[in-house]
Symmetry: D2
Subunit: 315 residues, 4 copies
């Protein structure tokens, strides 16, 4: 780990101090209980990792323990689908905050089965359908997994098969969303196949360190600055960040933007990926969720980190 | 007006070119027709003005013609109310995108009369109620007007009494919102008085140049950089920007964030105030509105400006 | 009054026994508290009266004490408005159960300000607007009062001015409904005037005996069988009964039809008027309301009466 | 067929005249197109049949041609389920008109997966789940079919396998409803199994004559008056009639009650079963539907029949 960078911030110390300060609140919130495998997770875990475009890494707590990334996968799935079909994706899904819980079906009925954005479950199911084009479910799952390994520069990343199976068994609400969109002709593939792929990419397990690394391109104008690859064009990276900021924390996105001021995407596994453009990619993880389905400790941690570093997209 | 600044951007030329490029589309959209006085506005007007923290000003078109600021006033009203009651304001209004049109009443019923954010009409009515505390309607209107004059550094700014009267006559929907919130005990003052103040601050008339100047503190960490005054703390400026980004263009806020990437607030008079933190405060005006109630040409202009300057909060 | 009629039912005894049986539950439910004058009513009152087309009257308990008829007035207002404009009334209000509480505004937004039926508040406000045509508010109120006195054959019926004033002071929700419909162009008269008339006819005070007598024409094919007058055509009486059955008890109308099987209309004053076509007009009154705004004891009483008499429109 | 009965009505002549009068409008409305097999039905068919408790039968037009009974089956399924679990059924489904289309999912979300009544699709799926208790899908389907044959006194009634298969293939909306209720724990059996049974009972094919005969017990206080059997207690027959009246024609139930005044249940196959308590059980069939999913010609026919006979439950 490097020392203080030119910005004058000692990120290692800040991360460590923020971790220790918030560690007193470990266990707050409620572990997601609707997926049995996730309900078994020990709530008293808490990790932070950040990576800067210069390659500096700061980490604390359970930063190397894999967790179920769940909806954070939607960011990467969106990236893949945009790569495949470009801006035409938006004929099939909107870009507006939903004003409703992550798994609501009401909005779908009012808007004829077109999901409001790619980060609510219905939207991610449509994006999955798009990303599958021309692929078998097995191939589609393989492609997503390879993309995550590539971005994180780590071939050890894997899907937690027990979680995927558990979601398939218990995902009645997602089945309903899938069938509902199918009834409006919004899915090209069979509901079972789309959900199979969907549940598998949600079940990818990664550590905070791996996730922060994987999200680095969003903090670096679409490039992987450590290997010098272009992942997406700068404009697309900005746009994905915009979607994360307006829609990334479900019906608490506005509140998060107000308190933290950084684009982010949460998952019910308790992870949150946040992006400080030009500064760092950050991942925090603590399994206890708040009423909106976002990691309670994770949100507080990012708020403290943003305050300590002064990072905000808003000035 | 200064020449090119250190950033290397010739803002005068960019503004001029963007104006000329978009001027070919003057007249697109529909002038708001539910307020008779606004319906009389000539749709073929189009102005742009921007001000940088260094005091550089670039303007084009009808940048000096006053227009009805309408909902853009909500940004300044919010600033006043936060100054008065601080973060306790959020017990009375939320911070989430609404997922519905600007004047919807449905959400209010589902959430017991608590508006989702201060930028939808219901929310701004509550913020008005807060800002009135201890004041007569006349005093409250005076205070808001003085605040706008101070921020714009221009004592010529005035309320268009004909517009205010027209809104009072025709504002049945806002009357309904007011009475509805009153029925939930959400307003401290009488509905008529709150709406009187509300309609008057919406009826303030300003030019693009005045508005861009008035919004400069949001691009400059809460300070008026030209006079060296602090208007709000830096954290508060960031937070107001966050609210503008997530909620400032009604149910098209997500799309605007995606396309433009800057905090902004629109009004049905056809104006949009946008903030590029650290770079500039921008105001565009063209009366024709899109289906969401935002200036159609204004949105396209800001998109072109953002592309040309590279300004975006998202990297 | 007469003994057992040809049907073999001793109605006097049945009413008396049902009263005594249910009197053990006097005080159940909650007195309406949103109108201060109504909140002052002693909850331990309970009256029953019924009148047959042959003129037999059976009564028990507080059958001669006046109570605030509130929404029961909507039946008579509807009768007046149909008399005035005929079936064209239905261009302005629907005939479907609302599926929502009596004062909901959500449905109005979804259906562009057209109320679902004349018995929810919004619908009754529109019907009031129709009934006012060509009249000053004072005249309109006078006409409704005269109609009630005529139907009940009793000139002592009066408006409780304290209740009307109390409603005007506290009727913010109805103000919201009125302004909301006005915003859709659904009201011909000024909101204040329509609500003035509305609150006054809701504030008419009548006893169970008077109300049962007033509703007799609905049980007698539209005729007042005791004076031999025709009030409305038989088809119209049937249709008003149909509306009472499907919409008369707000969002508990289906349940009431299932349990009791008679057309009825409730008011938040605790009264319910029920119609057994060909058999009797019945009014019960007990101020305690259930969660749907209907008299709790009143509903149980009508259920017991219907079981004892075998009266049901359903066979 | 008997001649005029004691009531003085020549039902044979009335049915014949009503048929001829309405036959001029054959073909109005739109044949249901979301089930391919139904979309193939010739829209120019029109049948009427009625049966009185005395055994008089009057029929006209295509009264002996089998049609897909679709949702009319929900009346008989409800009868079976009430026979199985009694009034405890209502812990699982409500008794209120829905205020929404027959296949809406919005209400389900607001009311935690509990359908509003047994005659909307979601409610009938729950009732199917209840009726299946202890049975395999095959057995459950067999039981329903036997019940229809018994009630119609005709063993030739059969399920149209092509329609059932067509519904299974295309019933995405019902799949969504099923999975949605499953997600709230509202179904005891697997979604596929419940829907298998549901689609099969909807696919029963019957003629107007058979259906009128099958519904006769509802017009005769729960008895089959021709064989002297008791099907259900009188109170239950009344209650099923009450549900038909308030909820039987989806979101046009209030209008139908107003215009026709008889309990009825429609199906998207174009059939309507109506009950005139004590007078007759009536079935009309014409495939063209109105915007609410009810047979357009069928509704007009029943309105004309009710006017001619004077039958109405409302006096």
């Amino acid at each position: 780990m490097a020392g203080p960078k030119a910005s004058g911030l000692d990120l290692g110390r800040i991360v460590s101090e923020v971790h220790d300060e918030l560690a007193t609140r470990i266990g707050e919130g409620t572990v997601a209980d609707y997926i049995p495998e996730l309900a078994r997770v020990d709530p008293r875990q808490f990790g932070i990792a950040l990576v800067t475009p210069e390659g500096e890494v700061a980490a604390a707590g359970d930063a190397d323990r894999p967790f179920s990334i769940q909806s954070i996968s939607k960011v990467f799935l969106l990236t893949l689908a945009l790569g495949r079909v470009g801006e035409s994706l938006w004929t099939r899904v909107g870009r507006e905050p939903s004003g409703s819980p992550f798994n609501s079906i009401v909005q779908l009925e009012h808007e004829a089965g077109r999901p409001r954005n790619p980060f609510i479950n219905a939207g991610a199911i449509v994006v999955t359908d798009v990303a599958m084009a021309g692929h078998s479910p097995r191939e589609a799952i393989g492609e997503i997994l390879r993309f995550m390994r590539y971005l994180a520069d780590d071939d050890d990343i894997a899907i937690d098969r027990a979680v995927a199976a558990s979601e398939l068994d218990t995902g009645a609400r997602n089945q309903a969303l899938g069938w509902f969109m199918r009834s409006f002709g919004r899915l090209d593939h069979e509901v079972e196949k789309v959900l199979g792929v969907y549940f598998h990419h949600c079940a990818i397990a990664m550590s905070c360190r791996q996730m922060a690394r994987a999200g680095l391109f969003l903090a670096a104008s679409g490039r992987d600055p450590l290997r010098g690859h272009s992942v997406v064009r700068p404009a697309r990276a900005r746009r994905i960040n915009a979607l994360m900021l307006t829609c990334g924390l479900y019906d608490a996105s506005g509140d998060f933007a107000y308190r933290v001021g950084l684009p982010a995407k949460s998952g019910v596994g308790g992870g949150i990926l946040a992006v400080a453009p030009g500064q760092a990619s950050i991942c925090v993880w603590a399994p206890g969720l708040d009423a909106f389905g976002n990691s309670r400790l994770g949100g507080l941690t990012l708020e403290a980190l943003a305050r300590r570093t002064g990072w905000s997209v808003f000035g």
